[in-house]
Amino acid sequence: MNLKKRLATALLYFLLTIMLILFMVPVYGAIVTAFKTATEVAAGGYWTVPTSLALENFARVMDPEAGNLGLYLGNSLLLTIPASFFSISLGTLAGYGLGKYNFKGDGLLFILIVAGMFLPPQIALIPVFRLMNDIGLYDTLWAVIIIHTAFGIPICTLVMRNFFQVVPKALREAALIDGANEYSIFFRIMLPLTLPALAVLATLQFTWIWNDFLWPFILTQKAESRTVMVGILNLTGQYTVDWGGQAAASLIGSLPTLFIFVFFQRYFIRGLTLGAVKG
């Protein structure tokens, strides 16, 4: 490498590092504030490194008598796991039906389903609110589970259909000749092959549903059915000046998705970029 090129590279990484530091300021702020005691905050401000690792903020937000975050975390799990499971299951069925069979109108049906991916939730907010009231599911986690299942079908169908399309035709034909029926082919041959695609969808669906605020905000009210994001926002209303508590709650609420970020990043990114390469 010549000198000019080296200088350019050094300048590039200098700029990137400044950008990265700016980018990480919010994360840094949340972490240091969460581990600081109220007295330390009062004495030294919010942005210094804490002198000791205080856990009182975490204890306060988890305390059933105070923040009660434990209940909301539990609710979010009870929502996110079934909603992810159902949306992926339904998407797998639809993706198989569209990816492995040709029938009249299959292209149109596919577009109709995939277009749902881009639908703003606002268009369905009021009717779903009414529907859930009418069928008696308003203010239950089931309302949110059902709606996330339904709104997850487009992305899950898209991923699974694309996946099944590239599974060699010969595999199904050979099994048919061996006397297997269509359903045993699906369950015994195709499903085991889909594991990587299922992992992609599991990370995506878990993250979106866990982080979602709008649907549980509209469809639930009482504390017993409150999800973690609604609960955290409620906390900030109750303790407006308690930054330590807010920061601790934010960290706890982000742990599951940060876990995915650390351990399943590859799958998550693959999910995010679907369609980006081929259009």
Binding site: L12, L16, L20, F23, M24, V25, P26, V27, G29, A30, G45, Y46, W47, L90, L93, A94, G97, L98, K100, Y101, K104, A115, G116, F118, L119, P120, Q122, I123, A124, L125, I126, P127, R130, L131, I146, T149, A150, I153, T157, E182, F186, N211, D212, F213, L214, M229, I232, T236, Q246, S250, G253, S254, F261, I269, L272, T273, A276, V277, K278, G279
Partner: protein
């Protein structure tokens, strides 16, 4: 039997997902259209069909035109700043250096945070006395700039937008990075051999080859911008004096705070029609580039 009805097998796979999808996605969408022509106000209340009255009213509603103006500003900013920044980061970090992996990971970290949490954190950053934005401005002597960003009518929308972009930039970077992997390296090499410098290669070779990724980024950004509600709601609730009130916030306020559900539906329909334009443009672009590659 099965041979005579070839659609029975795909139908058996598709029936359940389609039932759920139509009941809870398509049907509610249609119902919104219906409610937008009613005077429904309050759950449980009776309502009447009022024709286009809501739409006539909404176009002379000062709050609505304010929301449209803010949405237009938001959309224009979204299509430029986080898109260009995402592209710049992707170009800078596309190499195979080990250190790039760490940079990329950290730039995309905000994607896995909830917009609620992003809003909460950024409220502290903008805190007038103790927020790091103002602490920094004061420390470099820009005392006059250290204002209450979220409480001032002329800065609230931009301040919230910056918080929102924090997440959108990383997402755009990830999509551009994926797009860059499909730019054939020999093509870039050939341009270099022909004596093109980096900027010429970028403009003449890389950017045109990135077209599919760019279409995805622009469509996703526009749709995310139109429907973004959480960050704004958490940080300003559309205030002060509706200065950060976008169409999504307006729709929520009318429908669920003022309980004007019919009127709110007409706002939702307008928001939907705006995204529909983007969806149609997007699918047409995708169809076009598919033809190109075939």
């Amino acid at each position: 039997m099965l041979r005579r009805h070839p659609w029975i097998i795909p139908a058996s796979f598709l029936a359940l997902p389609l039932l759920v999808y139509f009941t809870f996605v398509i049907l509610p969408t249609m119902n919104s259209l219906y409610y937008s022509f009613t005077d429904w106000s309050g759950y449980g209340a009776d309502f009447n069909f009022v024709g286009a009255a809501n739409f006539e009213k909404i176009f002379s509603d000062r709050l609505f035109s304010n929301a449209i103006k803010n949405t237009a500003i938001w959309l224009a900013l979204a299509m430029t700043a986080p898109t260009l920044l995402g592209l710049a980061l992707a170009l800078a970090l596309q190499g195979k250096r080990k250190v790039n992996t760490i940079y990329k990971s950290l730039f995309y970290l905000p994607i896995c945070l909830s917009p609620v949490i992003i809003g909460i954190i950024w409220v502290w950053l903008y805190s007038p006395k103790l927020g790091i934005v103002n602490l920094f401005l004061r420390s470099i002597g820009l005392e006059d700039l250290a204002i209450a960003w979220l409480a001032r009518p002329n800065t609230a929308l931009i301040a919230v937008f910056v918080a929102w972009s924090w997440q959108q930039t990383g997402l755009n970077m990830v999509i551009f990075l994926a797009g860059l992997t499909s730019v054939p390296a020999p093509l870039v090499e050939a341009a270099k051999v022909d004596g093109a410098n980096y900027w010429q290669t970028l403009v003449k070779v890389i950017i045109p080859m990135l077209r599919p990724a760019t279409v995805v980024v622009l469509a996703l950004t526009a749709i995310n911008a139109l429907k973004s509600f959480e960050v704004i709601w958490v940080m300003t609730k559309g205030g002060p004096f509706n200065n950060s009130d976008t169409l999504a916030v307006f729709m929520y306020s009318e429908a669920f705070r003022k309980l004007k559900l019919g009127y709110g539906s007409s706002a939702a329909v307008i928001l939907f029609l705006m995204t529909l334009v983007i969806i149609v443009l997007y699918f047409r672009q995708v169809a076009k580039s598919d033809e190109l590659y075939e």
